[in-house]
């Protein structure tokens, strides 16, 4: 297993190497958590993410109103991107509810007496919740990046092949991020372990950085308070993805990520309110 020539990547199953891929994805033997969240924070993060849902849906709603008025597809895609962000956070809130209800059930029945069926149903809801959260969030960021790149504007022909290919890779990454796998990067002198969900954060961080770059360019071009707020908001959102990346090291990173993410969306809301007050 020791690698001396470059990096060797081993994908290892945490619990058992004999379970088939399909069984691994669909059948669960215990409540497996993809995100490392301190138990006391469940509920609190659902409230904070509820605020994110409201902000995302407000922006999506206004962009859709503009689309209905002007019939320009860039507004439709922008609206769709924020709608997907809102829905992805709703899916995440749903998973919190699954955890909370599971914890209450555990306390009521006694941890040692949890029936296997109940656990499996909760686990199934939890995994599908996160599958939708990851899938919808990555699709939203992809759309937002394409809109900010102005590739979806009316003047440009819609490159469906490119969009479908990007969506295909998003889907693959969503499936991979939901697996119960961990990657071990054997460097010969040291090994780095990395949960598969980390690839979701890495991808969202990469997309956020590219979106931030576009909005920073937009600020440098326009130099208004509202464009500054939007650029700052996306810097914060990219930073939150970077913090989430270290979630598996310590649960404190998860709390920090949620708070920075919320501040990012509130900054976006401030820019939106500034626009409406003009």
């Amino acid at each position: 297993m020791k690698g001396t020539l470059g990096w060797k990547i081993y994908a290892l199953l945490i619990d058992s190497s004999s379970i088939s891929f399909l069984r691994e994805f669909l059948v669960f033997t215990y409540m497996f958590e993809l995100f490392f969240v301190p138990k006391w924070f469940y509920g609190i993060d659902a409230i904070l993410e509820g605020i994110v849902v409201i902000v995302a849906l407000l922006i999506a709603g206004y962009a859709y109103k503009v689309y209905k008025k002007l019939n320009e597809r860039k507004f439709k895609f922008f609206s769709l991107a924020f709608l997907l962000i809102g829905l992805s956070f709703l899916a995440k809130i749903f998973t919190h509810l699954v955890i909370v209800s599971q914890t209450i059930r555990d306390l009521a029945v006694g941890t040692m007496q949890i029936s296997l069926t109940n656990t499996n149903v909760s686990d199934l809801f939890y995994r599908f919740g996160f599958f939708f959260h990851i899938g919808l969030f990555l699709t939203a960021l992809l759309l937002l990046f394409l809109v900010s790149e102005k590739t979806l504007h009316q003047k440009e022909p819609l490159n469906m092949k490119m969009i479908l290919l990007a969506l295909f890779f998003t889907f693959l990454l969503t499936v991979f991020s939901n697996l119960k796998y961990i990657l071990i990067l054997d460097l010969g002198i040291a090994t780095i372990t990395f949960p598969s969900v980390g690839f979701f954060y890495l991808t969202s961080l990469a997309l956020m950085v590219m979106i931030t770059f576009n909005y920073s360019k937009n600020y440098l071009k326009k130099k208004t308070n509202s464009t500054l707020l939007v650029a700052a908001a996306f810097i914060l959102l990219a930073l939150s993805q970077l913090i989430f990346l270290f979630d598996f090291v310590d649960t404190g990173f998860y709390i920090g990520g949620v708070i920075v993410e919320l501040i990012g969306y509130l900054t976006l809301l401030a820019a939106f309110i500034m626009v409406l007050k003009k």
Partner: protein, 90 residues
């Protein structure tokens, strides 16, 4: 330059040109102010008249284009849309 302006920007420029002239402007002046060809301006004015955002009134020598109350409200809304478009880099 005109071909690079979106429909939103063109309509916005036409309405702003009328508003800046006190809500009433001659079509020839509007053509220069909005930097549009006669053909393109006529097309846009027909659309704006159909939507009751502007109306035309005959004068002694020719005619003038007037912005309606609906047009003024639309312009205020358009300013917000323009700000939204610029803010979110659309």
């Amino acid at each position: 330059m005109n071909s690079r302006r979106s429909k939103l920007e063109l309509v916005f420029d036409i309405l702003v040109a009328i508003q800046n002239k006190g809500g009433k402007i001659k079509p020839t002046h509007l053509m220069y102010k909005s930097n549009l060809s006669h053909k393109l301006l006529s097309e846009y004015l027909d659309e704006l008249k159909a939507k009751e955002l502007v109306r035309e009134e005959p004068t002694d020598k020719s005619r003038v284009v007037l912005i309606t109350d609906k047009g003024l409200n639309f312009l205020a809304e358009m300013r917000k849309v323009k700000e939204f478009t610029e803010t979110f880099g659309l």
